[in-house]
């Protein structure tokens, strides 16, 4: 597959986190402004606990971070992680370049790849 095996877990979390429309909405909102979880919960027709769960998924994937202001925990989008999703394209290029190198080596063998 496309990603290094050691990154598999991170990628898994990242894509799982991005697969839900409420969570994507939270990311967009938390890019503009800092929100508390209860502030975010006002936007959605779902319970505070459900929103809290979405926030936890985003936090585990590194897409948002929480920081404290006074007595409130505020949610902020983590742009580095959002960028990482794009960095995956780089990983994919590297993977295929290496594969093509190996293909070239096999093709360069005298006996049409029958040996070994």
């Amino acid at each position: 597959m496309v990603v290094g095996l050691e990154n598999e877990k991170t990628t898994d979390l990242l894509f799982h986190a991005l697969s839900d429309s409420t969570r994507r909405d939270i990311i967009v909102r938390a890019m503009v402004d800092d929100y508390s979880v209860s502030g975010l919960a006002d936007f959605y027709a779902m319970s505070f606990a459900a929103v809290q769960k979405h926030v936890a998924v985003l936090e585990r994937a590194g897409l948002i971070t929480k920081h404290r202001r006074g007595r409130e925990q505020l949610v902020r989008s983590n742009k580095d992680t959002i960028r990482t999703a794009y960095g995956l394209l780089e990983d994919m290029e590297k993977l295929w370049r290496e594969r093509i190198d190996r293909m070239g080596e096999i093709l360069a063998e005298p006996e049409e790849g029958e040996d070994k």
Binding site: Y86, E90, W96, E98, M103
Partner: protein, 169 residues
């Protein structure tokens, strides 16, 4: 140098790679169609691939696993969506369990391969579409629909920043 060109479309999250080999199209096709040759190049170094099923027909399944240096097995699958030897192959691939059942939580990629003889060499054009396109586009689109223009501006900025230099690399 085998790889002739690389194009990365960060909007479509598509990688297009063109390579040229000093071999016939049939010979290059064998690298894909013969599982014993395929497993010599598919896995990264240290993670040899073993292809268990290799049904190279339209709608056919390819099931394989890669073995880590520690002996751990990573199972993967392809589903052939289009095939026309020796010129064309399209498949979706992803991770799954040992029976080849896809893991729905893991991303998949769609890859198309075109193989053609050009001026005595064989050109292989590979196009891989990364799965998060939809999620990313939805993210941007949603921002616009909801009038979060600032957010959209910020997303655009993020996406245009330094994408090609591999921030985490």
């Amino acid at each position: 140098m085998t790889v002739k060109s690389v194009q990365k479309d960060t909007e479509q999250l598509t990688l297009t790679l063109t390579a040229e080999f000093d071999a016939t199209a049939n010979r290059v096709w064998q690298l894909w169609s013969d599982p014993r040759q395929l497993e010599r190049w598919w896995g990264p170094p240290g993670y040899p691939a073993t292809f268990v099923d290799h049904d190279f027909t339209s709608g056919g399944n390819v099931i394989y696993y890669m073995t880590s240096p520690e002996g751990e097995k990573y199972h993967g699958w392809w589903r052939i969506s289009d095939i026309n030897p020796p010129g064309q192959l399209e498949f979706v691939d992803g991770f799954g369990d040992s029976d080849g059942n896809p893991n729905p939580d893991m991303p998949t990629t769609a890859t198309s391969v075109a193989i053609e003889e050009v001026d005595g060499a064989t050109r292989m054009t590979l196009r891989t579409k990364f799965p998060s396109e939809e999620a990313m586009q939805q993210l941007v689109k949603m921002g616009m629909e909801e009038g979060l223009t600032l957010a959209v501006g910020q997303i655009d900025e993020i996406l245009s920043e330094d994408v090609s230099s591999g921030i985490r690399a």
